[in-house]
């Protein structure tokens, strides 16, 4: 379905994840973050860029992988994106929600 995020027409799925990564820009990321009550800091951006790179490389994202990323550890990841960190961070990054259980 189509919605308007940060003044742009964006296609999202029923959970609010972007279906076309090319429609994403930083303003869109900021708007989705604000919706989740998160103000993005440089640390958030480092993690978001990392997630986008992993997604571009077609890597399945898990919390274990995040912990071994050398970008952020699991504890900080939970602090940056409290409540469902991987789900929230991927949504902000404009990439699909990870499908795994770990």
């Amino acid at each position: 379905m189509e919605t308007i995020i940060a003044g742009k027409h964006i296609t999202v799925n029923e959970e609010g994840y972007l279906t076309d990564v090319h429609q994403w820009d930083e303003k869109v990321g900021e708007a989705i973050a604000a919706d989740a009550n998160i103000t993005l800091t440089p640390r958030h951006w480092e993690v978001i860029k990392y997630l986008q790179k992993e997604n571009a490389d077609q890597v399945a994202l898990t919390i274990r992988r995040i912990g071994k990323s050398n970008v952020v550890d699991i504890k900080e990841f939970y602090q940056l994106f409290p409540l469902a960190p991987l789900k929230t961070a991927t949504k902000i990054a404009g990439i699909p929600k990870p499908a795994g259980c770990i």
Binding site: R64, D73, I74, L83, A84, K87
Partner: protein
Amino acid sequence: MNDPKETIKKMMIILSKGTLENVYAAFVLANGARMEGIEAEMFFTFFGLEAIHKKRLQSLHVATVGNPSMHMPTMLGGLPGMEALASHMMKKEMEKIDMPDIPEFLDILTASGVKLWACKLAMDMFHYTKEDLFDGVDAVITVGGFYKKSAGEGVHMLFI
């Protein structure tokens, strides 16, 4: 946002078994809760204590005897080395799907904010002390103490 009355706020997971498959089930459920923004606490009792016992957690096994799901005759499952072999194979498969091993999983759980409690009664029974346990264990508590932590709306309890 969902109606707060319709959401799960916290999962209280009791682990009473020390076989690999049960420990993994409990760990995946606890981690999965945190990943969904749900709080999680674990209570380790009886053989579940093996999962947080510093020395024993390194060598948890799957049960090959008395476990029909293994599709292995009980007599065969009892042969020397069978349990180790089955456990080795299972661990290999786990690694393939990016499942952490038990020590790493415990680190992930504590980093994710899962509270780990050890059952006092079972600790006394096995003559374990807090020093025998994984450092991330929060405390040794009684059943009553665990129930107190479980109070409140939206809290669910699981026994494994």
